[in-house]
Symmetry: C2
Subunit: 354 residues, 2 copies
């Protein structure tokens, strides 16, 4: 395997010295880029983009051609696993993801098949291999999956939800059924991420988009426990190098201490958490990733740069910071503002790494 | 004025001894009640319910006829103030509130009129007086308003928003314009709540529904500062008794320490915060209100009762707790489950008050 030309991202995840703070953006291959919208239009549907390895590779690389990003992230969907389980993922324009066959009963949970990611999600592994080949050792590639709880919310609700009535009712009233579902998902996600790592992913992120909808006692029981189980089951070294795991629970800022004990190498922070205080809370146990409000990218270049400076100052000198947005970049952002964000991180962070 | 027959709620807000923990529910007069749906159908629109004092009184009292609640809350909308400023509040079915004339520019902000609540929102004060008369001293009446930041989000976006692009862009790029807007709103909300207190409200709650969408530095600047200013300007004693102020920032669990320094008597907690840990963080500076996940009301009566027990145990013995949900009760809840919730609070809390 080629030596990485830029390994800042992996070094920061290991809390090793870097020249400048590495930066990438959640959803960096996305609708804010005109070239993405063109690829998407050509492909037909969102899932057509995901399931064709060449197209998935093409859009993965688009932001890297524009900006000096320190990591690539596989272009895919967080709901590929339940789709492979036969639930029938589809997208309604402006409505978010939906499943044709939601999981509502103990029998539904029982009948969920075990997936073999190399077969059932071969398109993902092909995309990972294609992207790795095209990256040619420039920067590392991040693989990812939704967390078991996050997958369960869509599988039980059958769609996006505001109050999670169905999935929480199952968790509260039939916890034994919910735990079987989450156990199946934890096993599937472990296999899925290990397959991505075997195919070439050099770090993985678990997106716990909806863990923060749970209460403070329900979160460890229904979300964190299963992410910990996944972390325990992952291949953590490959190509002679650690494969770090990033855990991102949106709205999880109150639970960083228990998250830091999960075995993950890094915690993703949304923008509601003070990153300096977060660093004090977790100490040197984990790297922190984040955490500019994505809406800041609608502000002026000067304001974006000032915000980057404030976050760098809040984290302070020393290692263990991967810069990112606190959530995905949104469709209306001017790509030039994304450039200002990324370049500001590199320019303003050098003084913190001496 | 009549002596209150049940003053547990006000006593708990003053951290004075009570026999059992008082309880009320945000949105307790709401769509989960068939009698509310009937009143709403008869009235025509939601705003017709709010603007007619007899109808507003009727729906305010509906949950009290069913359940042994310890407080009534004025039936109204959080957006009455901007409506009185001439923005033209209306509701699209299933879409949430909208404004015909959103506030987008410095000129829009400049031209916002000063309101005189007793004139411009006379229907609210008439509702307060009517409800107080009908309550006849049984339990106290809570008045309320949206927070300046929360009002500003709707006024600038013109509708509900997922990412608050427009209002945050104004805050980030034209902070001086945003501060003029928030200053006008803080003054208007102060006058509005003081008018409610003069009309008979015995406690007031500031609903900061969207303060939690702000980052950790933006929250104090754009939301908390203006709520503090309101608290400072409120009538705090009337009818020989303290008029307590409750401050509820949804998703504000990371900021309780600064919120506790706002001068408010009580902080509302959503269900993501551990109420026992919150109590340790704020000490005896404020009462805590909350914090069961409203979705728990879809679970079985046994599960609801167990959750109430867990929250009471988490808060522990002693004073300074008002039980509530972590957010408003949702339309699909069986009213009998609300009864189980309320009765469980009273039955299970006596042992913590000896």
């Amino acid at each position: 395997m080629t030596e990485l030309k830029n390994d800042r991202f992996l070094r920061a995840l290991e809390r090793k010295p870097v020249d400048v703070t590495p930066v990438w953006m959640m959803r960096q291959a996305g609708r804010y880029l005109p070239e993405y919208r063109a690829s998407r239009a050509k492909a037909g549907s969102f899932m057509d983009l995901c399931t064709n390895p060449d197209r998935a590779c093409e859009v993965t690389l688009q932001p890297l051609k524009r900006f000096p990003l320190d990591a690539a992230i596989l272009f895919s969907d967080i709901l590929t696993v339940p789709d492979a389980m036969g639930l029938g993922l589809y997208f309604e324009e402006g409505e978010g993801p939906r499943f044709r066959k939601p999981v509502r009963t103990a029998a539904d949970v029982e009948s969920l098949p075990t997936i073999v990611p190399d077969d059932d999600l071969a398109y993902v592994m092909n995309a990972v291999r294609t992207i790795r080949h095209e990256l040619n050792g420039d920067i590392p590639l991040i693989g990812f999956s939704g967390s078991p709880w996050t997958l369960a919310t869509y599988m039980v609700e059958g769609a996006s939800s505001k109050d999670f009535r169905l999935v929480k009712s199952m968790a509260f009233d039939q916890p034994e059924v919910m735990h079987i579902l989450l156990q199946k998902l934890a096993a599937a996600v472990t296999d899925y991420l290990n397959a991505q790592i075997a195919a070439g992913a050099q770090a993985v992120q678990i997106f716990d988009t909806w863990g923060g909808s749970l209460g403070d006692r329900a979160y460890p029981e229904f979300s964190l426990n299963y992410m910990r189980q996944i972390v325990d089951g992952l291949t953590r070294e490959r190509e002679g190098r650690r494969v770090p795991v990033i855990l991102f629970t949106k709205n999880g800022g109150q639970w960083l201490e228990v998250m830091a004990d999960s075995g993950a190498d890094c915690l993703g922070l949304d923008w509601t958490t003070n990153i300096g205080q977060a660093r004090q809370r977790v100490g040197d146990r984990v790297t922190l990733q984040g955490n500019m409000d994505p809406t800041m990218l609608y502000a002026s270049p000067e304001r974006i740069r000032a915000e980057v400076a404030t976050i760098l100052e809040s984290f302070g000198p020393g290692e263990g910071h991967v810069f990112n947005l606190g959530h995905g970049i949104t469709p209306g952002v001017d790509p030039e503002h994304a450039r200002v964000f990324i370049e500001s991180v590199h320019e303003l962070s050098a003084r913190y790494h001496q």
